[in-house]
């Protein structure tokens, strides 16, 4: 081609724009390719591909691992929906039923009021579960449930008015404040005539969820909080009551649709004329069918409250603290001086100590009866609407023949108590009765001297009868472990003790009944606010002196193989581990609001003097050890004799299937770990973002995990929403609770939802405590009671793991509030920490109890340090005292907690995996890379992960010694690379043309 022709071709005006376009595309392709690193799993999920494929090699000795699933993709939905309905039926609580207002008669007319009716809250905010299933009919609303389950005459006009008409809900958050947005009674004018001769069902709904606590002030409730009824809601009820008086409305039935407690004083207020009320929690996708069944008597309610329902939202010390401090999260008084960032500057104090929920109300009530000094002006019935454990039935049940037998081992030591009680159905309809057994431990002189606290009663056991026909009886035996008699003495003996004094067990219908039974047995029958039955109480022990030995060593049995336990308990000494999170024992913080610098914990020794009455003003003093201060990236301290572990030694090739059944301490684990490089080890552990990565070199499959506590989240299918955890444990039926675990795990493994694939683990259940009424994430946690939480978790976890779905209960620990959760410092005393907050976890993770194979840590700090960076919490208590040998996973480390949820602090203190998308290049500092101690910790973390996957994960189903994982390149990866290459080459070629043209042109121009 001649020069002039070439110049003409190169000079075509299309090349420059094309060069720019290709250049732009090349940049996009570079970033797109970079995005495949952190979002590899998401992309594989989106395209339904895998990073590697399983192949079988010849010649290897083969024994295929079989971990079958319970339900197929075709079977799961119907099965799951049935369980959801059953759980809701069994867990909903009949709070009130005046004049047998319920069940509703066949063919009776029902109409509706209050906006919650038209938009039931099925699940909460956050990654719990999908909440918009009603759009495609996956969720059962109240009308649909009533029409399908009952033969009631449902008034469509009032329902439509509330669902889509002028009465529909405007609830939601406005500038971060939850509001009901309930319309007033005037708006009801078009439908008032529709109520004629009907029973009106009014649904009160309250939202709550992840990342936010419920507003204690600034909302539209009559007390300013979101948890009291609004003036409009009360006005509607009041007008309905007037219609009832006029004979235009037959009955008023209230359904409380909320995971958090709602102030219930209105239920007994005659102005509002409520005949019956039920707490239905958050019912999940199908739960409203159970509610409909209960309304007409197809189901006889047998649920019991898993929290205390109050008449005054600020009556509990935790709520009072909230109010005095203008929210739970306070700001350190010297935050600005110290230059604290958003993840450092907030704190909260658990000033109530052990007096959470009924432990406060019942204890103070008992002290009123006992006329203890400093009890103050406390009237139980003025503040408690329905006690913990309360629940009515359409029938009545009588308890008799209570008895308690002490069980002893071969050495004559007491191991447990069998409490038996006979329950008879004395009513006219068949039903179940939930019997609760409460324990009273003595509040002794020792306690007063050293500052220990004791609740008047603690739930110690429960059981539910079968369906008893009228007149039928059943004798229940409820076992109470002797260890439940222990109390934690953080001051004198610094361990669990068997306190001096008398111990009682009683069978009761609720916590208040329990206190009254015991007080009656003690001779205070005349002073009680309601009758107590002394015959149901049994004194089980009179201990003359404090025994600080008997519970001072851990009774946990470690695994000796992955499927068996050691015969003997580990006997690890138990002593104070958390002094650094008690402002009164730790020098690094003080309460500047008081001269003595201390925080005041509530004490039954003087209620009035210790009940929260002033705001705290914590300041960091900088006087504590660096280990416990608020800084991150603590120096790595080398352990004596630590040697760098071997990395990348494939001289003894091993694969994970070979490790099935190999005990944790077997040396073979060292050999397989030697095969891994440092980068493989690190990147596997810091990329557990809803999965644990596959490691082809040792045939470790990728495991896929997801939320959540009441159903698989992020699913395209709406049916996965189960009833909230409060309802699950309100069943007080271990069999039903286990069914929930079974259903959730079966759903996870079913592969029903293509987007979700087949899951191998679930971040569930939630084990934090309903510490204060305003805690926003109550739907994902069970109860205010640690024992109930622990037992429910036990049942659910065991059932999940029977299907090889690794349970990952969350959030370890003290994540009982949501506001400022990223880094908020939680301060409390060790007695409260152990007896209230750690207890459920002990049930959940001990190998001789629920044996959860993993757990998720929390965003918050314990004291000033991130919970995951505390060797006391992560190593000494979790692994040594309790024998946990699974792996620990952080909460989402990619959020704004990243400043303190850091790799070095985490790995050095017992954190194993990060819910993150970290990379070796950016995450592994040179200090970490070269530290023998850090690398030994890293390797131990990898061992825990591999041990769990090899022995307990469904991901290993079908694997054998001959299984190998071969990395594959999938079409979308090819496409992306091709995009890069084409755009890159295109850009380069076009740039050459443009440059060549410009040069040629200049040469010609200047020739």
């Amino acid at each position: 081609m001649s020069k002039s022709k070439l110049l003409k071709v190169f000079g075509h005006k299309c090349w420059e724009p094309l060069m720019v376009v290709f250049g732009g595309l090349f940049m996009v392709s570079l970033v797109a390719n970079a995005a495949t690193v952190p979002f590899n799993n998401e992309l594989h999920g989106f395209f339904h591909t895998s990073a590697y494929e399983e192949v079988k090699v010849e010649g290897a000795e083969d024994s295929t691992i079989s971990r079958p699933k319970l339900k197929s993709a075709e079977e799961i939905e119907a099965y799951y929906r049935a369980i959801n309905q059953e759980v809701e039926s069994e867990g909903l609580v009949l709070l009130k039923n005046e004049n047998n207002a319920l069940p509703l008669a066949a063919n009776s007319k029902v109409a509706f009021a209050l906006s919650g009716t038209g938009r039931i809250l099925y699940a909460t905010h956050g990654p719990g579960v999908r909440r918009d299933g009603e759009k495609d009919g996956a969720f059962y609303d109240l009308r649909r449930a009533l029409k399908e389950e009952t033969n009631l005459q449902v008034n469509d006009a009032t329902y439509d008015f509330l669902a889509t008409g002028a009465g529909k809900t405007n609830r939601g958050q406005v500038s971060g404040v939850f509001r009901t947005g309930e319309v007033d009674w005037k708006t009801y004018a078009p439908v008032v005539s529709q109520y004629d001769d009907s029973t009106v069902i009014a649904v009160i709904t309250r939202e709550s969820g992840e990342g936010v606590d419920v507003n204690y002030t600034g909302s539209d409730g009559v007390d300013g909080s979101y948890l009291s009824l609004t003036a409009n809601e009360l006005g509607i009820l009041e007008n309905l009551a007037t219609l009832k008086q006029q004979g235009k409305v037959k009955k008023i039935v209230v359904l409380i649709n909320s995971a958090v407690d709602v102030r219930c004083d209105f239920l007994d207020d005659e102005r509002y004329g409520v005949d019956a009320a039920m707490w239905i929690g958050l019912p999940g996708a199908t739960g409203m069918k159970g509610v409909a069944d209960a309304l007409v008597g197809k189901v006889n309610p047998s649920g019991r409250l898993s929290d205390t329902f109050v008449k005054d939202n600020f009556s509990a010390p935790s709520a009072q603290y909230w109010k005095l401090n203008q929210g739970f999260a306070g700001t350190y008084g010297n935050a600005d001086d110290m230059g604290l960032n958003l993840t450092q500057k907030f704190y909260g104090v658990y000033a109530e100590g052990i007096y959470v929920g009924y432990r406060y109300y019942e204890t103070r009530y008992e002290d009123v009866v006992l006329n203890r000094g400093g009890v103050g002006n406390f009237v139980y019935k003025d503040v408690v609407a329905y006690p913990f454990g309360h629940g009515l039935s359409y029938s009545t049940f009588a308890y008799s023949a209570a008895n308690c037998v002490e069980n002893k081992d071969k050495n004559g030591k007491t191991t447990s108590y069998d409490f038996t009680v006979t329950v008879q159905n004395t009513g006219a309809v068949a039903g179940k009765e939930a019997v609760q057994v409460y324990l009273q431990k003595p509040y002794s002189r020792h306690d007063i001297i050293v500052g220990m606290e004791k609740a008047s009663v603690e739930l110690a056991g429960f059981a539910k009868t079968k369906v008893l026909a009228p007149g039928e009886s059943e004798t229940l035996t409820i076992n109470v472990d002797f260890e439940q008699l222990r109390s934690y003495d953080a001051e004198a003996d610094k361990t669990y003790i068997l306190d001096e004094g008398d111990y009682y067990l009683t069978a009761a219908k609720d916590s208040h009944h329990a206190v009254n039974n015991i007080l009656a047995a003690k001779g205070y029958a005349a002073s009680l606010d309601s009758a107590g039955d002394a015959s149901l109480s049994k004194k089980i022990l009179s201990n003359p002196t404090v025994d600080a030995e008997i519970f001072s060593k851990s009774s946990a049995h470690y695994h000796d193989t992955p499927s068996s336990l050691a015969d003997e308990p580990c006997n690890v000494p138990i002593t104070n581990r958390l002094d650094w999170m008690d402002p009164n024992r730790f020098k690094g913080v003080k309460n500047a609001a008081r001269q003595d610098g201390e925080v005041v914990y509530v004490s039954r020794n003087n209620w009035t003097a210790t009940f929260p009455s002033e705001a705290t003003n914590l300041v960091l003093t900088g006087k504590g050890p660096v280990k416990y201060d608020i800084t991150s990236h603590k120096p790595i301290v080398e352990a004596e004799g630590a040697k760098m572990p071997t990395y990348g030694d494939s001289s003894t090739p091993m694969t994970l299937p070979m490790m099935e059944g190999v005990p944790y301490n077997d040396e073979q684990w060292g050999k397989i770990l030697n095969n891994l490089t440092q980068q493989e080890t690190f990147e596997t552990l810091v990329q557990c973002y809803g999965y644990t990565p596959g490691i082809p070199s040792i045939a470790k499959p990728m495991t896929d995990e997801d939320d959540g506590p009441y159903g698989v989240s992020n699913t395209a299918e709406g049916y996965s929403s189960m009833s909230c955890e409060g309802i699950i444990c309100a069943t007080l039926n271990k069999e039903i609770i286990a069914k929930v675990g079974e259903a959730i795990a079966a759903d996870a493994r079913s592969g029903h939802d293509e987007a979700q694939k087949n899951l191998h683990g679930l971040y569930a259940p939630g084990l934090n405590i309903h510490r204060a009424i305003f805690g926003g994430r109550a739907a994902e946690y069970y109860s205010e009671d640690p024992y109930l939480t622990g037992i429910a978790a036990w049942e659910e976890i065991e059932a999940m793991q029977e299907q090889y779905v690794v349970a990952c209960p969350k959030h370890y620990i003290f994540n009982d509030e949501e506001d400022r959760r990223n880094g908020i410092c939680i301060w409390m005393n060790e007695q409260a920490a152990r007896e209230i907050y750690l207890t459920p976890w002990e049930y959940a993770v001990r190998p001789d109890k629920a044996n959860a194979h993993s757990l998720m840590t929390s965003f918050n700090r314990a004291g000033a340090i991130w919970t995951s960076a505390s060797d006391d919490l992560m190593e000494h208590i979790l692994r040594e005292e309790w024998g946990f040998d699974g792996y620990t996973l952080t909460d989402m480390a990619g959020s704004n907690g990243k400043m303190f949820m850091v790799y070095d602090d985490g790995f050095m203190n017992g954190t194993d995996c990060f819910l993150d998308k970290g990379t070796y290049k950016e995450g592994m500092t040179s200090a970490m890379r070269s530290s023998p101690t850090f690398n030994l910790k890293l390797r131990e973390s990898m061992k825990r992960l591999l041990y769990t996957v090899a022995n307990y994960s469904a991901a290993m189903d079908g694997f054998s010694n001959s299984t190998r994982l071969v990395a594959v390149v999938v079409p979308w990866q090819v496409g992306l690379k091709a995009f890069s290459v084409v755009s890159g080459i295109g850009f380069g070629a076009l740039a050459l043309i443009v440059v060549a043209y410009q040069i040629m042109k200049r040469l010609k121009m200047f020739a």
């Binding site: 420059e16 250049g23 995005a35 969820g209 992840e210 960032n341 850091v902 121009m1005």
Partner: protein
């Protein structure tokens, strides 16, 4: 009007907006990268500044600066068609600045997905979500928007300059005495 004077006037009318665009793109790119590096990496991404953002952003700023200088020079020195044609090559610097700023913008999203996710989560989930310092949120979005606008302005400046360059080529050539060959 003399065709040469006409050309100069036309070029001048083009060069002024091109210079303005280049200058604004340069300033915005500079502010975007400084805002990002100075604020956005403080709480997120482990306290790190993304090497990708700065790796692409800094050369982009340099190229945008070069474009500004050349455009400014063109304004005063492009007294002939040849020189005008050479100065018009500033568009190449603008093209490259556009590409690099585009990459920096995209990396600012990718490498700060933690921050972006935390900011956006409450918007899409309906929950309040975790607290993000409002100043940080503002800085991040400011930096993001500025990088994008700077990128587009660089492209616009380049394209405008290219148009001018083609027009120059179509214009009659002057001789050494300044007379026009028809």
């Amino acid at each position: 009007m003399n065709p040469i004077q006409n050309l100069k006037k036309q070029n001048f009318l083009v060069l002024i907006p091109v210079l303005c665009m280049s200058l604004v793109a340069f300033v915005l790119a500079l502010v975007a990268i400084l805002t990002y590096a100075g604020n956005c990496a403080s709480e997120f991404n482990g306290g790190r500044v993304s090497a990708n953002v700065t790796g692409f952003g800094i050369p982009a700023i340099i190229l945008a600066g070069v474009a500004v200088l050349v455009d400014a020079a063109a304004l005063f020195l492009a007294k002939s068609k040849k020189l005008a044609s050479i100065f018009a090559l500033s568009r190449i610097a603008n093209y490259l600045a556009f590409m690099l700023l585009l990459a920096a913008f995209l990396y600012q999203i990718l490498d700060e997905y933690s921050l972006l996710g935390t900011i956006l989560y409450p918007i899409f989930s309906g929950a309040v979500g975790d607290p993000v310092d409002p100043a940080l949120t503002s800085s991040y979005f400011l930096s993001l928007i500025l990088a994008l606008v700077a990128s587009l302005l660089s492209l616009a400046a380049g394209i405008t300059m290219r148009k001018m360059s083609y027009r120059i080529e179509r214009e009659p050539q002057e001789n050494k005495e300044g007379k026009v060959h028809e």
